[in-house]
Amino acid sequence: MNTEEHTVSHVHRDDIGSRMGMWLFLFTELLLFGGMFFLYSVYRFINTEAFHIAAKELNTLIGCFNTAILLTSSLTMALSITAIQKDKKGLSIFFQLLTILMAFGFLVNKYFEWTTKFHHGIYPGSDTLLSMDSGEILFFGLYYVMTGLHGLHVIIGAVLIGIMTRLTAKGVITKDSFVKLESAGLYWHLVDIIWIFLFPLFYLIT
């Protein structure tokens, strides 16, 4: 009894510290994407007309659809944390799997969106693109880099949530210890926020 108490009291856990560490990491992500938003804003300021013309190439419908998917996946991620807090392990795993499914759906849409553009000859360094106005080249350069980097974050986020699902199933993430799931959630919501800004800035400026 005594030894048990002893070991329990020496298990080091600092949930607030863990979450704070995650937030600090998210601020570095703010700088990463922030720098690109700075680039975007200056180039758009200089090439306003070209940006408007180039944005007509983008499919607003796919953009809307992907926004809805990502917002809904943020919802299921948040719900999975409430579920584990209420000790509903199965429900939490279900919500996590839904989130991963929607991340996958987002990427499939992105794949079709990009391949359609490739078929139209618009990809970095293509003859069609290089024959365009320099402002339009900048727009598509930023479009591929920013949505590409965001897509990479979606992949990383989905893998992270997958690991959390496994940990939940194995009983590592429980009603009393779910800070790992919370941190994965924070990352996922950041990916959502970045898309909230990317969507109007690229798809809705025509």
Binding site: M20, I193, I196, T206
Partner: protein, 96 residues
């Protein structure tokens, strides 16, 4: 035993679904408003709605509302420097 106080009042399912509805509605508003030409205000409107959506995600989905004060101060400091950077950048570019 002293439990992490933020977890004593956690969010229920309901508020998340409410926020989700709000986010989808605001997305609809952004798309609808994008079709109208307000001139220079068009981009401002889009950014304003995006900021409102981010606020909802940060406070509810990311639990900032029920986090300790330090988290909110952290975020405000980070955003403060972000805003300074963009203001200085445009103070430079606008007057070239």
């Amino acid at each position: 035993m002293h439990k992490d106080e933020t977890h004593q009042h956690m969010h229920g399912y309901g508020i998340y679904i409410l926020v989700w509805f709000g986010l989808l509605t605001l997305t609809g508003v952004t798309v609808a408003v994008a079709g109208i030409n307000f001139g220079a205000l068009t981009i401002a409107t889009a950014l304003f709605i995006a900021a409102v959506k981010s606020y909802l995600v940060l406070t509810i989905f990311m639990h900032l509302r029920i986090e300790q004060k330090a988290f909110k101060i952290f975020l405000l400091v980070a955003l403060f420097f972000f805003v300074i950077s963009i203001v200085l950048l445009f103070a430079d570019y606008s007057f070239r």
